[in-house]
């Protein structure tokens, strides 16, 4: 399958004198984390199928700086931001899509003040837009009637008010969307944000991802849908901790769509 993917880089397109419609910002997790790489590939397959003209930065991409900023290292964050902005501005990038809500939030909200003005969308918003514009069609198929619960990523939901795009896509799969007791603006964090992904949690009675997984399990889902590579890891770990990994899958919205379309 891998060989069938078309993943042009900005450098290649630039050399050919072409400008893509959108830059796909892959992010560190999407580039290096084994689980998140599957999400990246699923999204690329959808983009390929919809004939979207896109490119990635490849080795010219660097960490957005989100974990550094949230850990308190404003200097490192701004160094990352300014470097990335320099690259993106040099390519004349106008629109960015990313499957990571942390990159999404940082690029959309914190880069403009440092000279990086782009239209930044999350991949769920982008996919919804493709559907609405008729550039992509979707059929429920394998997910028809399946119980899916959606975990709101903090940096997509509360931080940026995007609650409906991922839900609309799940509904388009003819799946039965079931909400957890804490959802949308009250969604409970998976425990990874604010640079927690990279450290052990402080002393407490429970890990946050376990608490959130318990909320998800209460809905008796067949699939827990995520829209963030870090949430995905945390929820996957939570499901394993509850020894439910054989019954319940944690999948990104892009993977659901790619699977439904048999990509």
């Amino acid at each position: 399958m891998g060989s069938e993917m078309k993943v042009p880089t900005m450098a290649e397109l630039f050399a050919a004198g072409e400008q893509p419609e959108v830059l796909f910002w892959v992010g560190c997790a999407g580039s290096f984390d084994d689980r998140a790489k599957k999400i990246t590939k699923a999204f690329v397959k959808i983009l390929n199928k919809a004939n979207v003209s896109f490119a990635v930065l490849g080795s010219e991409e660097s960490c957005s700086g989100d974990p550094a900023k949230r850990a308190g290292n404003e200097f490192l964050f701004q160094m990352q931001a300014v470097t990335n902005i320099e690259v993106m501005n040099a390519y004349g990038i106008k629109k960015v899509v990313t499957a990571c809500p942390h990159c999404f939030n940082t690029l959309k909200n914190e880069y403009p003040g440092l000279g990086g003005d782009y239209e930044v969308v999350h991949h769920t918003q982008f996919l919804k837009q493709l559907l609405e514009e008729g550039r992509m069609t979707m059929e429920g198929g394998m997910f028809k009637g399946k119980k899916i619960t959606f975990h709101d990523p903090c940096y997509l939901g509360r931080a940026n008010g995007v609650y409906e795009a991922p839900r609309d896509l799940i509904n388009k799969l003819d799946a039965e969307l079931v909400e957890m007791k804490s959802c949308k603006s009250h969604g409970l964090c998976c425990g990874a944000g604010g640079a927690q992904m990279f450290k052990e949690p402080e002393q407490g009675d429970k890990d946050i991802n376990i608490e959130r997984t318990e909320q998800a399990l209460e809905t008796k889902p067949e699939i827990i849908a995520a829209a963030c590579p870090f949430c995905n890891t945390m929820m996957t770990d939570g499901v394993k901790n509850k020894e439910k990994e054989n019954e319940i899958k944690v999948m990104d919205i892009a993977e659901l769509i790619a699977n439904a379309e048999d990509l």
Binding site: T9, G65, E74, F75, E110, G193, K199, Q203, I208
Partner: protein, 441 residues
């Protein structure tokens, strides 16, 4: 002699207002210990936020039961304060029910004050039960022990007593009107206090006048005392909720401010034209401190936030760290900030306006590092706050101080940041391998 009551009233009223003005001055001085921030942008949106969130209570009703009960108390107090205007005029001029001339409208007003007073009593009783009988979890947190708990109950008792005094005053007045006692003009309608009248049955006009006057005086003196209690209490929110929602954060919650001081340094580093030897230390002045370790490093809006917090604990009850037993409680962050600010304020008062180093600061002496590092920056606390307080911004400023001034990040975070610095990812992968996924199956 006949003006004695008027003079006494004027004295009590002016001292009440005088002490309140002094408290307000102190409050403003303390808030101004914080850093200036530009909050002059987008005024229409700011007014809208204040109208919706503070005046319209839109975020209170997210939790319907306490939200509706709170609206009763809120509307009750706002509306019943119209009555305070009459009381003040009567007190100063020696009149009785000066607005009685409004006729039918007056009846409607007094009737609605009575109904609201009754509803306030109901709400206050339910609130008391929630705090002391049901003992809702969010009122039982460690930071709620001692004064915060007593403060919460004291406010309920004061409100209850004020409402009872108001209704007692009206009941006695109503009875005196029925008896046709001079000075007690027939005015008002008493749908609630009429039920208290049987208690007063058989009492002489003299006794009734004593009851009416006592209730009247205690009611207005009570209100003036309550006004001056605010500064020492979480109840300050009844005033500060308005400016606080006005000055609250605009735009997406995920947008954290970029430090301008850092931007200047980064730009200098990235500028190939910049001569590193030309910008010497002597023209740079005192280097700016990064982040916050004490209240004076916070912004005025953050300090206003601290005074506005009414310790309802909605933030803490939604905080993922707190829910899973970690020490972090966003409410405690706000309470600690206020307590430290008050301590600094008292230091200034005791030392003729100069701060004498007390060897303490907000970080460590009030807020521990364990609390600071437990935050997931998920914004649940910010979303939950009914009056637009942002505890997360204080946590982030303190992290910035710890990392940039003290190099005191947890070691795993240092590893993560080292990776970003060296290879552009939080993990130790080579930047040149970022596209390898394309060819992996």
């Amino acid at each position: 002699m006949e003006y004695l009551a008027n003079i006494l009233f004027a004295l009590i009223l002016s001292s009440g207002v005088f002490f309140f003005a002094r408290n307000v001055k102190k409050l403003l001085r303390n808030i101004q210990l914080g850093k200036k921030v530009d909050v002059t942008d987008n005024k229409p949106q700011r007014w809208k936020n204040m109208a919706k969130i503070a005046l319209g209570q839109t975020k209170m009703v997210v939790r319907p039961i306490p939200g509706l009960l709170h609206i009763l108390v809120y509307v009750g107090f706002v509306i019943i304060n119209l009555e305070v205007l009459e009381i003040i005029l009567d007190g100063l001029l020696g009149t009785h029910r000066i607005f009685a001339g409004l006729g039918a409208l007056y009846d409607v007003l007094i009737a609605s004050f009575e109904v609201l007073a009754f509803l306030v009593i109901v709400a206050v009783v339910v609130f008391w039960i929630r705090r002391n009988v049901i003992r809702l979890k969010r009122f039982m947190s460690p930071e709620m022990k001692g004064w915060p708990k007593n403060d919460g109950n004291l406010i309920l008792y004061i409100e209850l007593v004020l409402m009872i005094l108001f209704l007692t005053m009206n009941a006695a007045d109503f009875r005196l009107q029925e008896l046709g006692v001079a000075h007690y003009v027939k005015a008002g309608s008493f749908p609630i206090s009429q039920f208290l009248v049987p208690v007063l049955d058989g009492m002489s006009a003299q006794t009734l006048i004593i009851i009416e006057r006592t209730a009247w005086w205690l009611h207005i003196v009570g209100i003036l005392c309550f006004l001056n209690y605010l500064y020492y209490s979480k109840h300050l929110h009844i005033l500060l909720a308005f400016p606080n929602t006005y000055f609250g954060k605009l735009g997406p919650k995920g947008k954290f401010k970029n430090s301008e001081a850092v931007t200047r340094e980064v730009k200098l580093m990235m500028d190939p034209e910049a001569d590193p030897y030309s910008a010497t230390a002597d023209d740079a002045g005192e280097p700016e401190k990064f982040g916050a370790s004490d209240v004076s490093d916070l912004t005025r809006v953050q300090l206003l936030n601290a005074y506005t917090c009414t310790e309802c604990g909605r933030c803490t009850s939604e905080c993922p760290a707190n829910l899973t037993g970690k020490k972090l409680s966003p409410r405690k962050i706000m309470m600690d900030t206020r307590d430290r600010l008050e301590e600094v304020g008292k230091n200034l008062d005791a030392n003729k306006g100069n701060f004498v180093d007390d060897g303490k600061q907000l970080l460590d002496d009030y807020i521990s590092r364990e609390e600071i590092w437990a935050c997931t920056s998920c914004n649940a606390c910010v979303e939950a706050c009914p009056v637009s307080i942002d505890p997360l911004s204080i946590i982030m400023d303190m992290r910035q101080y710890l990392v940039m001034e003290q190099s005191a990040a947890p070691s795993e975070l240092n590893t993560m940041m080292g990776n970003i610095e060296n290879n552009g990812a939080p993990w130790p992968f080579n930047q040149m391998d970022r596209l390898n996924w394309k060819d992996e199956s």
